[in-house]
């Protein structure tokens, strides 16, 4: 028997990014004793990397903006696959969530009349993104961090204890969700990075807020933490993932030097006037406006340029199309031999704005290119290309409560949750998603926890979790697993090597443009990697050992990689973040189809389900001809019947 220390809490939030902290603040406010667990130090979560802004229809810059317009833009961006009730709640609640940040000390950039300034972004009809230069995520995360500390100060004044009601366990990694005998959540199992010791936090409600999966891909804008832990934890606990084929490749990542390949170049560069050119100097985006968006984008450079000054009488330039469109266009240009020297295209602000304006509006981009690539963006064009950026797919949740489907007591919010963004996320809609659904997850998790449900921890599960975590120290002897000896036969494996092979596989075979044969091959390779991963062996001891941490993360990355490849192979159409060379068009028949992934024994099982019909009053926000471009035949029939009466 391993001795594992235990603590009791009402709500455990896994993740201290925007979604996790907002959930924790709400859960504590609702009276639940709340523990937050995060893999890295408090205040370092991936959310700090967000640059461009947070979308909310506050109408500070354009008076006509409202939640309905935001809702429409979000649905269009997601090609109507969005869980529409989430998109509705998101659009309605985002302004309140942003304003609330100000009451906690956030300092956004201002309009001339002193309100929160809002900027243009791809796919948003009006200037909608609240921002702080190009470090909006840092401001958001720091505000939530400082608010959490503020609450701890209040608790300290009242009770003499900072951590009695809200405690952060930093540098702890959760490897298992624990359940009671009836299948309800009863806690989490985690290890502390610093010491390697194990800890069980018992709680009837757990909120997953672990972010994304980008570290399964080679070229990515994502941070070290993005190993898909929450996705895998949910799967293993029995909750399905929805629409994992939708992975967003951001059109503009750095392409040179190799060591920084993938680092993000924020969309604000284009929102503020930056243009894309190929090696012939042509603004090629004008050649790539798809039919569904034809009426909404400028046809000439002159019109596009006028739009920045006079958006009411001109249409926006096609550089601001949704990300999937721009990423595919760049990919095509490079393939056609019109790329830049290092395999990207040119993104230029230097000829569009005075140097001082660039430095003021895009300070971190200026800094990033200067420091990492020796490029002065006020004097020359940047070289950019697509980079894996965001996963739209994720844990299947109830739109109102963020409760997972199938595991009582398990909630999910933020990037780890699926549905909200459909097949493609608009820029700025993630930060607002974190706040809207982080708050909801915290609220409903607290209500659930305080309703007195939930049983105890099963001791055997704790034993099994401990054995699984220790397996990499003794793999060769087969000490840690319940698999047969044949599978264990073979040389010990290095976690770094396996990780690199997985990244290469996902990048090459399940990347931005997908083909049937390649995805099938990816699945074979992932299966082989999974077998080898059982023999992963690490050196050294448990105290802060990165090799060991990676060995444990591998399980998650492999599971998630398999889900992405399987779902991508199944969906025989192109939509949003999922592009098939063999099925290049969007197929309306796929509009009402969700693909669910579940863990089935050792593998993943796929299930097709039908999406809930969009509420008529929400459909009524669109023109009939627009709906005809998206909705499936049988959905349209129902609609005409309903409206015609």
């Amino acid at each position: 028997m391993t001795h594992v220390e235990r603590e009791q809490w009402d709500v455990v939030v896994v993740g201290a990014g925007g979604a996790g902290l907002r959930a924790a603040i709400e859960a504590r406010r609702a009276g639940a004793r709340t523990a937050v667990i995060c893999k890295s130090l408090f205040g370092k979560a991936h959310t700090v990397m967000a640059e461009g802004g947070i979308a909310a229809s506050m109408a500070n810059v354009h008076p006509q903006d409202d939640w309905k317009t935001h809702f429409r833009d979000t649905m269009r961006g997601g090609k109507f696959l969005n869980q529409w009730r989430m998109a509705e709640l998101h659009a309605q609640e985002a302004p309140e969530r942003v304003w609330e940040l100000e009451t906690w000390g956030a300092l956004f950039d201002r309009t001339p009349d002193g309100r929160i300034s809002q900027r243009n972004f791809g796919g948003h009809e009006y200037p909608r993104l609240a921002h702080v230069g190009d470090r909006t995520g840092l401001e958001l995360l720091r505000t939530l961090q400082q608010r959490s500390v503020g609450l701890q100060q209040e608790d300290h004044r009242e009770t003499g204890d900072h951590e009695g009601r809200l405690k952060v366990f930093q540098e702890f990694t959760v490897t298992r969700i624990l359940k009671d005998g009836d299948g309800r959540v009863s806690g989490v199992f985690c290890y502390e990075r610093e010491s390697g010791r194990f800890l069980v936090l018992e709680a009837p409600a757990v909120v997953l807020a672990t972010g994304g999966i980008g570290k399964s891909f080679k070229v990515t804008s994502n941070s070290w933490e993005y190993t898909g832990d929450g996705h895998a934890l949910a799967l293993i606990a029995g909750a399905p993932l929805v629409n994992m084929e939708f992975v967003q490749f951001h059109p503009t990542g750095m392409v040179w030097p190799p060591s920084v390949k993938g680092i993000l170049v924020t969309e604000s560069v284009r929102g503020d006037g930056g243009v894309l050119r190929n090696s012939e100097g042509r603004r090629f985006m004008f050649d790539y406006v798809p039919d569904v968006f034809k009426e909404k984008y400028a046809e000439t450079e002159e019109e596009g340029d006028r739009w920045y000054e006079d958006p009411d009488h001109n249409r926006r330039p096609p550089e601001l199309l949704p990300r999937d469109e721009v990423a595919r266009a760049i990919n095509s240009e490079v393939k056609a031999g019109r790329g830049s020297p290092h395999g990207g295209v040119f993104l230029d602000v230097s000829t569009r704005m005075p140097a001082e304006t660039i430095k003021r509006r895009l300070p971190s981009m200026y800094h990033q290119f200067k420091e990492l690539a020796d490029v002065d963006i006020t004097a020359e064009a940047m070289e950019v290309g697509p980079t894996c950026h965001y996963v739209m797919g994720g844990v299947n949740v109830d739109s109102e409560t963020a409760a997972t489907v199938g595991v009582p007591g398990l909630f999910a919010a933020g990037e780890v949750a699926g549905g909200m963004h459909g097949s493609n996320r608009l820029g700025g809609n993630s930060l607002s998603d974190l706040l809207v659904f982080g708050r909801r997850a915290g609220l409903y998790a607290a209500q659930y926890a305080l309703s007195g449900v939930g049983g105890g921890i099963v001791a055997d599960d704790v034993e099994a979790a401990a054995a699984e975590a220790l397996a990499p120290f003794g793999s060769v002897s087969g000490a840690g697993g319940d698999h047969g000896p044949e599978e264990d036969a073979g040389p010990p494996e290095n976690p770094y090597t396996l990780h690199q092979e997985l990244q290469q596989t996902m990048n090459d075979l399940v990347g931005i443009i997908r083909r049937e044969g390649e995805m099938a091959e990816a699945l074979d390779r992932i299966a082989a990697l999974r077998a080898r991963a059982r023999r992963v062996t690490v050196e050294g001891h448990r105290q802060f050992n990165p090799g060991w941490h990676l060995a444990l993360d591998l399980r998650n990355m492999l599971l998630v990689g398999e889900c992405v490849a399987l779902a991508a192979l199944e969906r025989t159409e192109s939509r949003g973040g999922h592009t098939r060379e063999d099925y290049p068009a969007m197929d309306r028949a796929w509009r009402p189809v969700n693909l669910l992934c579940r863990l089935d024994g050792d593998g993943i099982a796929l299930e097709r389900t039908r999406t809930e019909p969009v509420r008529p009053d929400l459909l009524a926000l669109f023109e009939q001809d627009e709906l005809a471009k998206y909705l499936a035949e049988d959905e349209l029939e129902g609609l005409e019947g309903g409206h015609g009466a």
Binding site: S40, L41, F42, G43, K44, H46, V48, M49, M58, P95, E96, W99, E100, E102, T103, W104, G105, L107, D109, R110, D113, G114, R115, I116, S117, V132, G133, R135, L138, V149, G150, Q152, Q153, H162, E194, S223, W224, E225, W256, P257, P258, S259, V260, L264, S364, H367, Q368, E371, L372, A373, N494, Y496, T497, Q500, V538, E539, G540, Q543, P546, G547
Partner: protein
């Protein structure tokens, strides 16, 4: 693309002690020190402990000392060193070592907790905040802080003086006091909290003798000393005579001319 072998000396050990260990490791074009540390992990020493997250200079996780200077590993390009130079990487000196390049930075989190949070103005609801850009800019500069704690590491008040840690919040958190003090809508005063006085009396502003070492190492180029610490000292001085402010101003003026 060109490749060469670099010589690295990395501190390996834990709270009980350790030593510099020599490595020879391949370096490619355009790489930063963190890339090289990662290559060491992948090819030579998989358990080498280092903190990092973003590898883009945005999270402040990868702080350490390179050739004795506090820096971010992910923002230090290999091209700033000559090819035959031995590059020494050690953990931040002001904080206790956990393992290898990882230090225990809990001091900073304890200090953060001692500074009272933003106090919202009474009677101004969400959505009603009005502030001018010029008025928020000063605090915005300080909010660029990525909490890398390099300034805390370098400040001589605590760097080799464990005994001062109790009374001194360090530049990052004195700057936090300044940030709140300069926030156009912070209502601390109305709530009976004098932030400037606490900076002096509770957070150790008086220990700072404006050497500006903190400003020099800040990867965000925040003017910690000039824009946060000195102005706060000046405001404190309304009440108290502080010879260092006088000195600081003279130095500043001389530099400017």
């Amino acid at each position: 693309m060109s490749t060469y072998d670099a010589r690295f000396r990395v501190w390996r050990g834990d709270a009980d002690g350790g030593e510099l260990t020599d490595y020879t490791v391949e370096v490619h074009d355009g790489e930063v020190v963190l890339d090289v540390v990662h290559r060491l992990q992948a090819t030579q020493t998989p358990d080498l402990a280092v903190r990092w997250n973003c590898k883009a200079g945005k999270c402040g996780s990868c702080s350490a000392e390179i050739n004795g200077r506090p820096r971010l590993l992910c923002m230090t390009r290999m091209s700033v060193f000559t090819r035959d130079e031995v590059i020494t990487v050690t953990p931040m000196r002001a904080f206790p070592v956990v393992r290898d390049l990882v230090t225990d930075v809990s001091f900073n989190y304890a200090k953060a907790r001692e500074i009272p949070a933003f106090v919202p103005p009474a009677g101004v609801g969400p959505g009603e905040y009005r502030m001018r850009q010029e008025d928020v800019e000063r605090s915005q500069e300080f909010r660029k802080c990525i909490e890398c704690f390099l300034c805390q590491d370098t400040c001589h008040v605590v760097r080799d003086h464990e005994e001062n840690k109790e009374a001194f919040a360090g530049p990052r958190f004195l700057m936090r006091v300044a940030e709140l003090d300069m926030h156009p809508l912070d209502a601390a005063e109305e709530a009976g909290l004098d932030r400037r006085r606490t900076a002096q009396e509770e957070h150790g502003l008086g220990y700072c003798n404006i050497t500006k070492c903190c400003t020099e190492v800040c990867p965000e180029s925040i003017h910690i000393t000039d824009n946060a610490l000195i102005p706060m000292k000046e405001r404190v001085v309304d009440r108290k005579y502080d010879p260092l402010v006088w000195l600081g101003n003279t130095i500043r003026r001389r530099k400017a001319t």
